[in-house]
Amino acid sequence: MIKTRMNVVYASNIKLLFRRLGPFMGLIAIFAAGVFLNGSTFLNLYNQLNVLGRISIIALPAVGMTLVILTAGIDLSVGSMVSLSSVVCAMLLMERTWTKATSIAVPVFVFLCLVIAFTLTKRFLRRHISNSKVVSLFSLIVGSSIGFMVFLLMSRQVATGFKTLTVLLVVPVLGLGLGTLTGAVIAKGKIQPFIVTLGMMSGAVGLAKFIAGKGGQIHPIYYQATGYTAEGTTQMAPQSFDMLSGKIALFGMDLFPITGLFFLAAVLIVHFILTRLRLGRHIYAIGGNELTARLSGVRVERVKILVYGISGGLSALAGVLYCASYTQGKPDAGATWELDAIAAVVIGGTSLMGGRGTVLGTMVGVLILGYLSNILNLQEVPSEVQDILKGIIIIGAVLLQEGAVVRWFRRLKK
């Protein structure tokens, strides 16, 4: 056998290094800047956990966005999804009868439960029974009876008021449903994600305003303890919902924000999906080369639908947490959040072309943005200037990662 000579085209190592470690170096740099500028005010545990609390809600859509961007897509609807779900969440908690919010959220939830029960049963049965008609019929019966049971449970809560756990389940599922819809249109209709999610962005905000009523009014949340009574409502939100905005005691002080737990959990789960599940490998493959992925047996459409579904679900979860933190549902709660999410993903080193990036990078990206605004706030920089600086940081980060700065530097040296 002839030995072919090994032929390695040496990619620019510096570029690779920048891409991989760039986000972390950026984080260290901005942390150092914080220490340098604000000293112990910045460094103390209270401030650090405060930053974590602030970024945690907006980080959830960014985590979902990472998956979408890895498939070379984009999801512009995450901000609207936050708005919509914050409104739905507030209304579910505060109103007892069938309102617009319940009549949208409950059927979607019931329907999705039905579909999931149906598919799971079908999958299970197909292994044991070969007759496909029997399988379908039986799964349909199982699915619809589970759907009906869920509906009964739900309508009881409509009358008695929604519990915190139910809200935490129903609202994200609503987002999951809408995200799945977006994904289905993108995957089956072969339409560019930019356009479809742009449509969903507008549609979801419209829906939020419609549900909120009176041209998009704010829905505040009241708890028994505060002693206030909302006008026209008889309902108080369950006290447990307030806990979502609370903190866990650490060293005898209420320090660690609960929203931070959601953030960390989301990052860990998605990281696990990306590194250890077939789904993750398929996501990278689709973003790297969709045709290759398809020809390697990846069910591209299914993966895409799922990814947009996850993005919608995480955004809706962010809406619930927003509702708890700001004690209100607001039809423009998540306005422009999609841009922050994209910025965090990009700063975190994920390529907008898909196929390259990590969710840990996104976490770093979110932290960089969070520290930036924290430092500037501590320095009492006005918010307009903050926005300008943020813009510069976003573009600068990408220039660094793409190695442009290294190239310029090399050229200057000559």
Binding site: K3, T4, A11, Y284, R294, L295
Partner: protein, 514 residues
């Protein structure tokens, strides 16, 4: 008005001379002092295995790379280009392997892209531009209107446009990197006549190709590179095929590959009346009423001209375009219908596509991840990807196919074409296929790797895997296959057994009627 430029200087003086060129990527030398020379009006073939440094050398010449050592002189004056525009100004134009044009723009717009003739108001002077384009292309027997968008042209014609562009630059040297790899036989003939014409106008051509036959046809002299060194520069008349291959690989091939063994008798796949219509449901079908059988352990070749439906047939078998495909396929006596490639994979079929980068590999992924992409099921523990199982699997195939890679975590695009092709083979062997469909399995890879892949295929066949190979290289099919079926305009025109098949018979069956 500019036509094909005429250069009056005498023929034998040297136009481009590169001396002791040294180039390193990240500290690793890939060129160790290469010498190269082209004379006026000369067709100089540049040959060597993949990774020998041909493309690197040419990229240095036209200024893509600017960090190298050595000397380049053009017209006896020393030059050092820092980008391709400077090289173009000095009369050196390059046609890359992949066609480099804007598909939506017209022929004329592509030729003059970035240098459009303008009226005094700054608007593009389309009348002038089209007229100039026409006069350039007329000499190349290019008969399509210059206002046609390039996307509507076939590859062969697109290449003529590239040549036209080079001429419009007043090029004195045209570098052609594997110009024939996507051309049909007739288009290759046209290209050769154009090259002859260029030569008669005293334009020099640097011709890079893996196809030895072509080099003997067109070239005056041959420069052979091996491992970043110039092996020899020779006149074509002083060489024969064996010598040339020997110079390229560093040893002589005593003979070309000869297949051993015979297929078994039982039929693995039976295809009947397979028809695939075009996606827009108009025009002639891509595949029409094709029926054949594939035996266990058989190597079945598919021959045919470009556009005869070789690729389309393999795709149809693999369930790529099931909405537009009709006909019956039986695998081991069971009727199957694949509506997605993963169904085909479950039935034990694998497809290695002709376009390694476009539809075979995921370029951003590591070697290992590319290798296991189709067989992730095999490396799961419960539902989690087991890194240990993954590493074991990829190591096993790395050794079995002797894939040359320092680290499985390296990005796949750091490998040579031959090794990439072996990774693709590994990827599909990992699903334990019964039937392997291969489309142009040795395109663009060097002689040594080719030979290795032939050996591998014959080993696989002995293990009972059936192989279908579509190829445009007849010698490859003739030496590898037990039977060769010939496609003509989507229809099956003939099936030859190994003993019957000759190049002439196949070409005759493949040539369009009338």
């Amino acid at each position: 008005m500019r036509g094909i430029p005429k250069h009056s200087q005498s023929r034998s003086e040297s136009l481009v001379r590169m001396k002791s060129i040294v180039k390193a990527f990240s500290g690793v030398r890939v060129l160790h002092g290469v010498d190269f020379e082209v004379r006026r009006g000369e067709i100089m073939a540049l040959m060597g295995e993949n990774g020998a440094g041909k493309s690197t050398l040419m990229k240095i010449l036209v200024g893509v790379y600017d960090d190298w050592e050595g000397r380049i002189s053009i017209d006896e004056t020393e030059r050092r280009f820092t980008d391709t525009r400077e090289a173009e100004k000095a009369g050196i134009a390059i046609m890359y392997q992949e066609i480099n044009m804007v598909p939506e723009l017209t022929v004329a717009e592509n030729i003059f892209l970035g240098r459009e003739p303008c009226t005094w108001g700054g608007c593009v002077d389309y009348i002038q531009m089209n007229r100039m384009a026409e006069s350039i292309l007329a000499d190349l027997h290019f008969t399509v209107p210059v206002t046609t968008p390039v996307s509507q042209l076939r590859v062969g014609l697109q290449q003529l446009v590239e040549i036209g562009k080079a001429l419009s630059l007043n090029a004195r040297v045209v570098i052609m990197d594997e110009p024939t790899s996507a051309l049909s036989k007739r288009e290759i003939e046209t290209l050769f006549s154009v090259i002859e014409k260029l030569k008669s106008r005293n334009v020099s051509v640097i011709y890079i190709s893996h196809r030895i036959g072509e080099v003997f046809r067109v070239a005056d002299r041959v420069t052979v590179l091996r491992d970043g060194r110039t092996v020899d520069i020779k006149h074509v008349e002083d060489l024969n095929r064996q010598d040339l291959i020997g110079m390229m690989v560093g040893r002589r091939f005593d003979q070309f590959f000869v297949k051993e063994g015979h297929p078994e008798d039982d039929v693995v796949m039976r295809v009947e009346h397979l028809t695939r219509i075009q996606p827009n449901r108009q025009g002639k079908p891509l595949i029409e009423d094709v029926s054949f059988e594939l035996k266990r352990g058989e190597q079945l070749g598919i021959a045919g001209l470009l556009g005869a439906g070789r690729t389309e047939l393999l795709e149809a078998l693999f369930g790529v375009d099931s909405e537009n495909t009709t006909g019956t396929v039986e695998i081991e006596g069971k009727a199957v219908h694949f509506s997605h490639p993963h169904h085909a994979m479950d039935a034990g079929m694998g497809l290695i596509t002709e376009d390694r980068k476009g539809s075979g590999l995921v370029l951003g992924m590591s070697v290992e991840h590319n290798m296991t992409l189709a067989a992730l099921k095999a490396i799961l523990t419960f539902i989690f990807i087991s890194r240990k199982k993954e590493r074991n699997l990829s190591k096993a195939y790395m050794n079995r196919l002797s894939i040359n890679v320092p680290d499985l975590d390296n990005p796949i695009d750091t490998l040579s074409g031959g090794n990439q092709q072996k990774v693709l083979l590994a990827k599909w062997l990992a699903i334990h296929p019964k039937i392997l469909l291969l489309d142009e399995p040795t395109r663009g890879i060097d002689v040594g790797a080719k030979h290795e892949i032939y050996l591998l295929l014959s080993k696989l066949v002995k293990q009972g895997i059936s192989i279908v190979i579509a190829s445009s290289e007849l010698t490859e099919l003739l030496s590898l296959c037990d039977r060769i079926m010939v496609l003509r305009e989507g229809k099956l025109s003939a099936i030859f057994s190994r003993d019957e098949a000759t190049q002439e018979k196949i070409m005759e069956a493949a040539a369009p009627v009338g």
